[in-house]
């Protein structure tokens, strides 16, 4: 059965926003070449102008089949088995993309809320709720970033299959979860880019990756942005303290705490705008690649809504471990410092995305907090934490690339390979979640860090039961995995 059905989702493309159409058009132009169809590549043309509309056999498309002009021979699932391997892959890629979006939100909650929680400007639950709502809202604000998921990093002409996208997502998710487990704020965007690079090298070859673009669009901004945010935050902190020195202490604290609500909200909004769109882009590209969406389609409304919802849900779950390390682990942040840092972060994110530099919100936030810590009245930083974070930044891209490369190798073997990689993903995520339960960090204990001195090896605290009781019950063991 060669005639694929048309997904009902093609119908709702949100054309009511004319100002978007230019950007989106460009997006899909790019995406159409970015992802090529692995099998049956002619099927889209086959169906154009015929009475049998094309479609993708997604389990959730069935209720809307009725929009077609004709009763089709494939209205029964069993008739469409020929499409099943593509459909299975597409469904897997969409689910994995949403899972990545979830880990992205969950990992990056800290960016907006860590400083607000640490200074007491917002109660933990309130902070993550606001962040979640604004991440969701941010997903609807703009669709430009969706044009730069590949951003020229991957050579579009080389051809990227859905298997490669899947492998890239797997590497990114696993790296995100591992760094979350260790409470380290690594960049979700770098994890995704690293995954794409690794999977492309394995699937297409070295010529599939534009290493020049990797340098100019990822590496240079990655080095420069935390420094700029740190400097701006340092200067702003100094000035904020100097100006309010003669003021009433209580009024000053209250004022900066109120200001923090706004500055952290702006970060959440910018984050939703930037990051939810990466997922939207991936899903849209995948649908285009199998012909479920025509070239030139906008991301369908369901894609925008589900990407926004996934990132918001992740944000609401709160990566408490990372919130703790960012809010309490780097420096003791007071309200003026928190406000200065958050303002610096929002400004850097907004100016650089306006100028076309992609950057990592996470790294900018960390830089901002460091600057605020050093600019405060008692300049101090916990350098061991700084060192660990910087190592993690350096590792993110290659580590995600390595995992995704391996995943691509297996996933390309066919359906069993995809299934195997999916199983490894689920098992790995489950294992990391189980390990995290040993020392849970939640809204209730996120600020309970008397003196954070994170230890390098977080997991095997109770490896040796004979020795452990002697030296384990120190306060340090509770902060070990933070």
């Amino acid at each position: 059965m060669n005639s694929p059905f048309i997904s009902p989702f093609t119908c709702e493309t949100g054309l009511s926003k004319p100002e978007r159409s230019g950007a989106i058009f460009a997006n899909v132009q790019l995406s159409a070449t970015w992802v090529t169809i692995p099998k049956d590549s002619g099927h889209r043309q086959d169906t154009i102008g015929t009475t049998i509309p094309g479609s993708v056999h997604l389990p959730f498309t069935k209720p809307a089949y009725g929009h077609a002009r004709h009763q089709r021979p494939c209205d029964n699932y069993d008739d469409c088995l020929g499409m099943e391997h593509i459909s299975f892959l597409v469904a897997v890629v969409i689910i994995t993309a949403l899972a990545f979006d979830f880990t992205n939100g969950f990992h990056d909650t800290a960016n907006a809320s860590a400083t607000a929680i640490a200074t007491g400007a917002l109660r933990p639950k309130v902070a993550v709720t606001i962040a979640a709502a604004l991440n969701f809202a941010g997903a609807f604000l703009s669709v430009k970033v969706a044009t730069t998921i590949s951003g020229g990093i991957v050579n579009e002409k080389a051809g990227i299959h859905p298997e490669i996208i899947f492998a890239a997502l797997v590497g990114a998710i696993l790296w995100n979860l591992l760094t979350w487990l260790r409470g380290l704020p690594s960049s979700s965007s770098h994890a995704l880019y690293g995954g794409l690079i690794g999977a492309t090298i394995v699937g297409v070859g070295m010529n599939g990756v534009n290493f020049d673009t990797v340098t100019t669009k990822i590496i240079i901004p990655a080095v420069a942005s935390p420094v700029v945010a740190g400097l701006a935050s340092w200067g702003a902190t100094k000035l904020a303290y100097a100006i309010t020195r003669k003021g009433n202490d209580a009024a000053t604290t209250k004022g900066f705490k109120t200001g923090q609500i706004f500055s952290s909200s702006l970060i959440s909004l910018a984050h939703g705008t930037n990051d939810a769109q990466k997922t939207m882009g991936i899903i849209t590209l995948t649908l285009v690649s199998v012909g479920a969406l025509p070239k030139g389609a906008l991301p369908p409304t369901w894609v925008i809504v589900s990407a926004g919802a996934a990132i918001a849900l992740g944000t609401y779950m709160g990566g408490w471990r990372i919130i703790r390390s960012m809010g309490k682990g780097l420096a003791d942040i007071q309200p003026p410092q928190g406000f200065a840092s958050e303002s610096a972060v929002s400004t850097v994110i907004l100016t650089s995305s306006h100028m076309g530099f992609g950057l990592s919100t996470t790294q900018v936030c960390t830089g901002g907090i460091m600057g605020a810590g050093l600019g405060g009245p008692k300049p101090e930083l916990r350098w061991s934490m700084v060192r660990r974070m910087v190592y993690t930044w350096g590792l993110t891209l290659p580590a995600a690339a390595l995992v995704s490369g391996g995943a691509a190798l297996v996933a390309q073997q066919g359906t069993w390979g995809v299934a195997l990689v999916g199983a490894v993903l689920v098992a790995g995520s489950g294992a990391m979640w189980m390990i995290s339960r040993r020392q849970p960090v939640s809204a209730d204990n996120v600020n309970d860090v008397s003196d954070v001195t994170p230890v390098e090896a977080p997991v095997p605290v109770d490896v040796n039961p004979a020795v452990a009781p002697a030296n384990a019950p120190t306060p340090a063991s509770t902060t070990v995995a933070a």
Partner: protein, 81 residues
Amino acid sequence: MHIKWNALAQTAGASFGITVAVVAVFALGILALSRREAALTTREGETAPAGGGRLALAGAYACFGVCAAAVVYGLVLMAAQ
């Protein structure tokens, strides 16, 4: 490889300038608010210049207004992309 050092420097400079300016204006607003409180408390005791509190309040509102304008501009930039 073509690196846009110019754009990079502009971005860095603009980020630094805007951050410092907004935070400074906000801090001035807070200072004005705390001056106003001081003015109000002195007025209860003796007859201080009555305009002091009101002037400080107006100054605070002006400062916060500038900050709000900066935020709105940021939102416009975000949505215009």
